[in-house]
């Protein structure tokens, strides 16, 4: 039996940590080597150094922050509107059978249509305005949050509701406190899924035509064959949605504070 630093399990763990730390740099290094070795076309497949230069140029030109704030606004505003509406309708359809009979069939027909499929009609309705982009993000977020809330409300412990009824809880408080907080663990899961959906729909919305935004910049760079800038844009988008997901995960752990 081995002990101390000769412990094979310990050594295996250290090795896996080391490999984990080196993973991304090794990949970037390999990419740089392959791109510079002329095995591939460096115009279509630029080395990381070229991408880094393109990103610096983007930031220095002052366009980066304009693009970032345009995209961020669309995502956050669309998410906020879609999520609030989704929670509100989810509570109503989850709690009241008549409202559910009225709306649920409609929502279930519209929900499976990928939001991206609405791009053509959105362009007809809204042109290239901001309203159209918001509409797409709201549309994508709404159904996910609605369904999660609807299910969550139906799973609220009926005993809690009866207890609240016996204590004279007014109907308004019943919905805004007992039902909402009772369903919150489900709602939070729906909201987290909706974060990534809001980024998908952002991409569709900006590709359909915009005047600024990260995905818009990627498309312009593609048309000008600036592949470094394209990849820089992808990296920025990836980083942005990664940060959004992580921060939402952190928030959602605190949202259900009584656990």
């Amino acid at each position: 039996m081995s002990t101390g630093r000769h412990d094979p399990a310990n050594a295996a763990r250290r090795l896996s940590v080391l490999v984990g730390v080196l993973s991304v740099p090794a990949f970037v290094g390999l990419w740089e080597l392959v791109a510079r070795s002329r095995i591939v076309n460096a115009v279509l497949f630029p080395p990381p150094s070229t991408v880094a230069v393109a990103v610096l140029d983007w930031i220095n030109s002052g366009q980066f922050f304009g693009d970032l704030s345009a995209s961020l606004f669309r995502v956050t505003a669309g998410f906020a509107i879609g999520a609030s509406a989704g929670i509100m309708f989810g509570i109503l359809t989850g709690q009241f059978r008549l409202i559910s009979s009225l709306l649920s069939p409609l929502f279930h027909i519209l929900r499976p249509i990928p939001p991206i499929a609405f791009v053509p009609i959105v362009i007809l309705w809204f042109g290239l305005s901001e309203a159209g982009k918001l509409f797409l993000v709201v549309w994508g977020v709404f159904f996910t949050v609605w369904l999660a809330t609807h299910i969550g409300v139906q799973k609220v412990d009926r005993g809690l509701i009866r207890a609240a009824l016996m204590l004279g809880t007014p109907r308004r408080q019943m919905l805004s406190e007992i039902v909402f907080l009772g369903a919150l663990p489900y709602i939070v899961v729906g909201l987290r899924t909706a974060v990534s959906i809001s980024f998908y729909t952002l991409v569709a919305a900006e590709l359909a035509g915009a005047f600024s935004g990260i995905v818009y910049r990627i498309e312009i760079a593609q048309q000008n064959m600036q592949t470094g800038q394209v990849m820089g844009g992808l990296a920025a988008l990836g980083l942005l949605s990664f940060v959004a997901d992580r921060s939402f995960a952190a928030i959602s752990e605190r949202a259900v504070w009584w656990r």
């Binding site: 412990d157 005993g159 809690l160 009866r162 207890a163 609240a164 009824l165 016996m166 204590l167 004279g168 809880t169 007014p170 408080q173 007992i178 907080l181 504070w257 009584w258 656990r259």
Partner: protein
């Protein structure tokens, strides 16, 4: 009432106490008249409660005892306004029960505490819902927390408490609205034997300090005799009251009497009654079908 005429010096006997004593019904706190409750089930309708009448007098502690599925919880829910009568009616303090009312409190088998609220805020929920100021509601909550002996846990969340502590909070929460009637649906049924004995003693003490009329559902005959002034024995399918018995044990009581020979005699009578009445009801049912 009959049990008042019994003195501890007399041999303890069970005395018949009909569900609706015809003499003193005028000022009954809870009045159930010809109540039937019917449920739609997969195979037709099920009669959960069948033409039950009973009166509960102000300040009285009445237990409903019976096998599971005998409709005792349904009957209690009807008194709570959570279940609508199919026939007949339920009145509390002269007013019909058309829905839950703040002067009728309820403790369920599960505590059903609001998991997002601390002990204090759970107890303050009722007074807040009825429009009391936050300060006043919390002050009432603190008084009740002291009464149930959980001062150290006032700011704890329910999931950090044991089952017995949670149920004490649930009782305090129901009492916070100072209900005229407290309905308890097997409140100690989910607790272990030791905790249950402590809770029964607590309830006996609590009962002397509050002035609520209590209806207590249980399938535990010991618990029913220990706590009650009157025990109503129910039969299953359809739910009917077979017999009402007055418990002449002196108060204050504690769970120590559970081993007292007088108490044991009482319990034997009671069990005999349940057995014979149960057999009779069973024979009747077989004769009908």
């Amino acid at each position: 009432m009959m049990h008042n005429s019994l003195r501890p010096t007399q041999p303890l006997r069970l005395v018949d106490a009909p569900p609706s004593p015809s003499s003193a019904t005028a000022q009954a706190t809870i009045r159930v008249e010809d109540l039937s409750i019917v449920f739609d089930a997969a195979r037709g309708t099920v009669i959960a409660v069948d033409r039950v009448s009973l009166d509960v007098m102000p300040g009285e502690f009445v237990s409903l005892v019976g096998p599971s599925g005998c409709g005792k919880s349904t009957l209690l829910n009807a008194m709570a306004g959570l279940e609508r009568p199919f026939e007949g009616r339920v009145t509390v303090a002269g007013g019909p029960m058309l829905g839950p009312r703040p002067d009728v409190g309820m403790v369920f088998q599960q505590p059903h505490l609001f998991p997002w609220k601390s002990v204090r805020r759970n107890i303050a929920h009722g007074p807040r819902a009825l429009g009391k100021s936050k300060a006043e509601a919390l002050r009432m909550a603190d008084d009740l927390i002291e009464m149930i002996g959980l001062t150290r846990f006032a700011n704890a969340y329910p999931h950090t408490l044991s089952g017995g502590m949670q149920q004490r909070v649930a009782i305090a929460r129901a009492l916070a609205n100072q209900p005229r009637v407290l309905l308890m649906d097997e409140p100690f049924g989910a607790l272990d034997a030791q905790t249950r004995a402590v809770m029964q003693d607590n309830l006996l003490e609590l009962r002397d300090r509050i002035h609520a009329t209590i209806v207590f559902v249980t399938h535990d005959i010991d618990e029913a005799i220990l706590l009650s002034d009157r025990v109503l024995i129910m039969s299953a399918g359809p739910g009917r009251i077979l017999r009402g018995l007055s418990v002449g044990l002196p108060r204050p009581r504690s769970s120590a009497i559970l081993t007292d020979p007088a108490y044991l005699a009482l319990k034997r009578d009671c069990l005999d009654l349940i057995r014979t009445e149960g057999r009779k009801a069973f024979a009747q049912m077989e004769a009908v079908t």
